[in-house]
Symmetry: C2
């Protein structure tokens, strides 16, 4: 994230080199500013934000790139949260459930939605149904139904717009489809909420 | 105008890929489909729906093309709703307020957000602040703050992804910025919810 320390070896350089160096340092400072601009402080965020500078990361999950467009922990949202997620070929979400509503729009690529429609009525999820998903399709996950999204393509990324209610998201993760609902592990805060959760969420969320 | 679907997977992609997507989605456009497929019955809707066939209309508002990706009245959502809106040059929303949260992502074009930040503390909205908005920016409307979005460009459409909480939306409309808050007129159901509201919403919403 930039922030390189150049120190002042330029002291001995001719003036035009100094100007070039100054420009470079300005860029380095600017990139550091934009990173801190999105760091855990909500206060002072501009009303209109450019997504080009928004931070994205895999948050420790291989094959994922996640960007929070508007979130509870990162932007103070109370009722909705909006993400962009990109999944590399072969990657995907864990098998999981949550009580919030969730809307997906497939922006790019194709993949598979696995959804166990029996919800919590049985001891563990039923064998999931497979639904092909592709660019320009939309789907909604019914609350509390265990599901998984996979990029089942061999070559192309799968990119999704994701909208949830009741942020920040509270996720129960299953090791496999035969795991009892009661054994699914709560992961809260979720991966992308971890870093700033204590900073912003302790009293309010 | 067009009502083109123009999602924003370009975040990670070179410009030529963006143009390809734009072309593909332009072809997909205004198949002003079988409203019957989406018509007022929620039961039997497929879980994965192709947006190419989703109905869009101006719902009686000049310069607007509105598409409900997932909605309360049209798809049975309880907590979030997702739209795509395209506004022709010179058109825009009325001055209005609502108590729900609202997130925008500008998918295409540019325009102006007018926002009166004093909310309901004064008798009528204060003079609004103007915020330029453009492709790849995002912004959130604070609950109950009167606002208006205008396509202030002379040539290009403004296209927005819109997410709201507490659907279906309950909107209070102002004739101008000097109208008292108490005189703003409730429009409920809102334009795109009118046709199916009685069919789906009578008991539940």
């Amino acid at each position: 994230m930039g922030g390189k320390l150049f120190f002042f070896y330029y002291i001995h350089l001719p003036r035009q080199h100094l100007l070039v160096l100054f420009s470079l340092l300005s860029l380095a400072v600017a990139s550091q500013v934009s990173a801190s601009w999105y760091s855990c402080s909500i206060k002072g965020l501009p009303l209109v934000r450019n997504l080009t500078n928004a931070p994205q990361s895999n948050y420790g999950r291989g094959g994922l790139s996640h960007l929070t467009i508007a979130g509870a922990v990162s932007h103070g949202m109370k009722e909705v949260e909006v993400w962009i997620q990109t999944m590399a070929p072969g990657s995907g979400t864990p098998i999981h459930r949550h009580s919030c509503e969730e809307v997906f729009v497939v922006l790019k690529g194709s993949g598979t939605l696995l959804l166990s429609t029996t919800s919590m009525k049985t001891r563990h999820p039923d064998e999931p149904h497979n639904f092909p998903i592709s660019m320009n399709t939309t789907f909604t996950i019914p609350p509390d139904e265990p599901h998984q999204i996979l990029n089942s393509d061999e070559h192309d990324d799968l990119q999704l717009l994701v909208v949830i209610s009741q942020p920040p998201i509270k996720v129960f993760i299953y090791d496999d489809w035969s795991m009892p609902h009661t054994a699914a592990r709560l992961k809260y805060p979720y991966y992308w909420d971890e870093e700033c959760f204590q900073y912003n969420a302790k009293d309010e969320l």
